[in-house]
């Protein structure tokens, strides 16, 4: 294979490089979801993590640049030329060089390691005794999330409400297999292990609905085990707490087809309450469905406002659609999920949809 051929190939590779760069830009910049990406942090933990990611990336890019520079030079300069059959000098090695490329990487690693240690300890800080911090107990289930506010005596599912700018202290465990609680935009992740308790703190610096993911393979619907972290202002949070924690039962109100909803409630009390609680009454096998009308998702991942319009009407309409879809055949929506019920009749689905989609706390 001749020289020109070689050069052509090098050019081909060269042409690919800008392609990669463009690709990288597009992937990171334009199309990624700002409430999901670890690259757009909205909280001190995620910011520290991004800092460590960038620091290590830059150090490594420097190393990469050095390697590629030598590499490219060597490939171009020392390829075999036609007709040159001389025998190169058989160099044994060079102690000085060996020392250089042992010591310099070592120093570079120290640059990473020092802030790494301090970040590790900062992220492991204990806020369990902090009076200011909101405490939440997180329990992961196949394939849904349970959030329990022991101080306010509130239980929710799939959605974690937190006030902006405040420390939130999480205690996490699992009811069955290992899951992992991950909110890329606000903080990293921590596993939920059955029989053990893990802890982690959260703080969001911006309001919004952040996406959470289960990051540990936990069964057939691991892919769909999403949750939301809804960051609201302190006032809104207080109002939410007041609303959710009072004893007053839920009501099905304005605009609802009350007859249908009542029918739904009846079915619910017959067939669903063994697993689901509303207003604190009912089983614990499935998610708590209190105040269901305000949910961002159905079953954790069917998004009611997929394009972030913030429009209540859109959200309500999608909620009904998704709920209908879920109740018609949960197994098809979320394979392997543990809501094992027989096929509901279409009328029953309609009634239950009407009932649940209007559950609202006043």
């Amino acid at each position: 294979m001749g020289l020109d051929c070689m050069m052509r190939r090098l050019q081909q590779v060269g042409r690919l490089l800008p392609l990669f760069a463009v690709l990288a830009l597009m992937l990171t910049g334009c199309s990624s979801d700002p409430y999901l990406s670890a690259l757009t942090p909205k909280g001190p933990a995620a910011e520290m993590q991004l800092f460590m990611m960038k620091l290590s990336l830059y150090v490594m890019l420097f190393v990469f640049a050095v390697v590629v520079a030598i590499f490219a030079y060597v490939l171009v300069r020392y390829r075999k030329r036609k007709g040159d059959n001389s025998i190169p000098e058989q160099v044994e090695g060079n102690h000085k060089l060996e020392i250089i490329w042992t010591v310099i990487p070592f120093l570079l690693l120290i640059v990473i390691a020092v802030p790494m240690v301090s970040t590790t300890f900062t992220l492991a800080k204990d806020y369990s005794q902090d009076k200011e911090a909101v405490k939440v107990k997180v329990t992961a289930h196949q394939f849904w999330w349970e959030f329990d506010y022991p101080e306010a005596k509130i239980k929710t599912a799939q959605e974690l409400y937190i006030p902006v700018g405040k420390k939130v202290w999480l205690e996490l465990t699992s009811a069955d297999v290992i899951h992992s609680f991950w909110v890329p935009g606000i903080a990293g992740k921590i596993d939920t292990n059955p029989g053990m308790k893990n802890t982690m703190w959260l703080e969001a610096s911006e309001e919004g609905v952040f996406q959470g993911k289960c990051a540990e393979l936990c069964g057939a619907s691991h892919a769909l085990m999403d949750f939301k972290v809804k960051v609201v202002s302190q006032e809104e949070f207080d109002a939410w707490v007041a609303k959710m924690s009072k004893e007053k039962p839920e009501s099905t109100t304005d605009g609802a087809d009350t007859a249908l909803a009542a029918e739904g409630e009846k079915i619910f009390q017959q067939s669903c309450v063994s697993c689901h609680a509303i207003d604190g009454n009912g089983g614990k096998i499935g998610p708590d469905l209190s105040n269901y009308s305000e949910r961002q998702t159905v079953a954790g991942f069917l998004r009611n406002d997929p394009t972030h319009t913030g429009d209540e009407a859109v959200r309500t309409e999608n909620l009904k659609k998704n709920l209908h879809k879920w109740l018609s055949n949960p197994e098809e929506v979320k394979p392997g999920n543990l809501m094992k019920i027989g096929q509901l009749k279409p009328e029953e689905v309609d009634a239950l949809t009407e009932y649940l989609s209007n559950l609202k706390r006043q």
Binding site: K80, T120, E216, S221, A223
Partner: protein
């Protein structure tokens, strides 16, 4: 020596089932490992097809999990390691000037155990479902409560049997390298591939027992109702993760060190220079091997071990970058001042360097514990390990195949097709795995069978799948090359690459007895030393005489069948079947111990006939 039997002449299938010749066993490993590589590759492509578009319905839920578990398990245990063993078997004894390995019988047993273990594991597809808890099989997901099919039992028994084969294979290489070196072949004259085989075997010896214990515990839980991972009865689910990674991290160096060895040989040969910094390279290999055992918990940063453990394991992990860097720079300096020839073997070796460094870069990034809280179990990790495994190990193995093909099969692979092979695989590889870094950073967890539209992951996944298809094409081209080569008549010369080490001093393919006369080694790069001294070949260390060879035996095959049967018995709780299987095994051991193998001799006439017409 009247007891010695006449020379056995097995042919065809019987020959392959009974052979104890390390070169034939090498070919068996290559064929079986190659088959499993295709299988694992097809599983990967099926996964990629499902992930090509959001919300696809090709392989949903548990089915996808089966694909992903079998892809990881097959690739690591049944494809990568066997292909590594293939090259080690074919080449290491030749590189040290040995007639044979230390334990030919055990060598064959090792192969058949791997083969039947792998077969057992893959039969799960047809018997109620493959394992679906990931290649890491974390309990309780892998326990009977949450994985009620027999899938994970197949995983446990299949890996246990295959692992046993790997372990005894490792011991065989260790003893071979320690005891069977030709006169003058000191440790510090051993080619780097042999050195890496040596350290890899040591890693196997000390890492596999940990997974053996892990698998035993999981098996007891699943089959006998023990409570190791049963939280309600005092079990501890994290224990498995420790045992798995105490094995698992050394395992990744078991995969990469032989590739490092291959690169060292290929780069030196095709630069026409001796390896730069030979002793530093040896030292780095040993340090990597040792440090490899002390970093396992970097796979568990998010388990909740606390900041002290996280910080210490993080630092220990980063340290491995130092000896690895020594290797990278020594390769670059080996090429420096050389006369680089871009054969296919060398293209893969050269392509290895930047690709592996990218994988190492992301490795060091992952090692930063607080940042790993973001990366862990995301596609960033998938990107990292495919860069080091495919871009590192697989490139290395391809390079090794092109390099040693003539020595193994006596024919040269086609260089033009080879270049297509390289470029398709190389480009496809980067297309597949480069975008996955960004998928991970923007929040895509790994092991998901689907994802919703509108999260910004469509394009990355699309490119990744296209890349996988290009890689498939690249692999298919390799198969085509092997096929084309097998049909051509032209024989390879003994030393087609103007190479440096001992294996090139003997005919291609290597004769049954390897060296007609054990060579005397006079320096590093034994053959090169002789060439430079103007000699036509190695100086023999002994007179020509009849060569003693071990007899072929069907017992390894039979014993492995016994294990296979016993495995089924355990999976299906059929004690009688297990007992029958184990009896077959014990019969094999008994027969082997009782009836001494006196072997046979290859006579001088035959050697002279074979060696005729060999020229360098």
């Amino acid at each position: 020596m009247a007891q010695h039997a006449a020379r056995p002449r097995n042919t065809g299938l019987k020959d392959w089932l009974t052979t104890v010749d390390h070169k034939k066993i090498g070919i068996l490993y290559l064929v079986a490992g190659g088959f499993f590589f295709l299988l694992g590759g097809i599983e990967a492509v099926l996964m990629r097809l499902q992930l090509m578009y959001p919300e696809s319905n090709l392989f949903v839920g548990a089915t996808f999990n089966e694909l992903l578990t079998m892809h990881g398990t097959t690739m690591i245990f049944l494809a990568a390691m066997p292909i590594i063993f293939a090259l080690m078997n074919a080449i290491v004894p030749l590189q040290i000037g040995a007639r044979d390995v230390a334990f030919p019988f055990v060598n064959s047993l090792g192969f058949w155990l791997f083969f039947f273990g792998g077969t057992l594991l893959n039969l799960s597809w047809f018997l109620g479902g493959a394992p679906d808890a990931g290649w890491t099989a974390y309990p309780p997901l892998s326990g009977t409560t949450y994985s009620s099919t027999h899938g994970v039992s197949f995983y446990v028994l299949g890996l246990q049997i295959a692992g046993l084969g790997t372990l005894i294979g490792g011991i065989n290489f260790l003893v071979t390298i320690i005891n069977m070196r030709a006169p003058g072949m000191t440790f510090m004259r051993m080619p780097l591939f042999t050195w890496s085989a040596f350290i890899t075997s040591a890693l196997i010896l000390f890492a596999f027992p940990a997974i053996t214990v892990g698998l035993v515990l999981l098996m007891f839980d699943r089959i006998f109702g023990a409570n190791f991972f049963e939280v309600a009865n005092g079990g501890n689910v994290v224990l498995w993760q420790h045992l798995f990674w105490i094995f698992g991290h050394p395992e990744v160096y078991i995969l990469i060190l032989p590739a490092f060895g291959i690169i060292s040989e290929v780069v030196a040969t095709f630069s026409k220079k001796r390896l730069f910094g030979y002793s530093a390279m040896v030292f780095a290999t040993i340090v990597i091997g040792f440090l490899g055992f002390m970093v396992w918990a970097h796979h568990m940063f998010t388990v909740g071990m606390g900041p002290v453990a996280n910080a210490l394991f993080s630092i220990a992990t980063m340290l491995i970058a130092v000896p690895t860097g020594i290797k990278i720079f020594n390769w670059l300096l080996t090429m420096w001042g050389g006369q680089i020839r871009f054969t296919t073997a060398n293209l893969f070796a050269v392509g290895f360097i930047p690709t592996f460094v990218i994988g190492g870069m992301t490795g060091v990034m992952l090692a930063v514990a607080p940042a790993d809280f973001q990366y862990h179990d995301s596609y960033f990790v998938v990107a990292h390990f495919h860069y080091v495994i495919v871009g590192g190990m697989a490139f290395g193995l391809f390079s090794g195949c092109y390099y040693w093909w003539p020595k193994m099969f006596g024919k040269m692979l086609n260089e033009t097709i080879g270049k297509w092979n390289f470029w398709l695989f190389f480009i496809g590889f980067h297309l597949t795995f480069f975008p996955q870094h960004f998928l991970g950073l923007t929040g895509m967890p790994r092991r998901v069978y689907t994802y919703m539209a509108g999260q910004g992951w469509e394009m990355g996944n699309m490119i990744s799948t296209i890349g996988a298809l290009v890689m498939t094409l690249g692999t298919a081209v390799f198969l085509w090359n092997a096929f084309v080569t097998s049909r051509k008549a032209e024989k390879a010369p003994a030393d087609p690459w103007d190479a440096r080490t001992l294996e090139w001093a003997i005919p291609s393919p290597a004769p049954e007895y390897n060296f007609a006369q054990t060579p005397r080694v006079r320096g590093l790069d034994a053959l090169w030393v002789e060439k430079m001294a103007g000699n036509k070949g190695m100086t023999p260390a002994e007179p020509l005489g009849p060569i003693h060879m071990p007899s072929p035996s069907i017992l390894p095959f039979l014993m492995s069948v016994g294990f296979f049967i016993a495995g089924f018995g355990f999976i299906y709780h059929q004690t009688i079947v297990s007992v029958v299987g184990l009896l077959v095994v014990f019969y094999g051991m008994f027969a082997r111990s009782l009836f001494d193998d006196h072997g046979f001799h290859i006579e001088v006439d035959e050697i002279k006939e074979t060696e005729k017409g060999v020229k360098l």
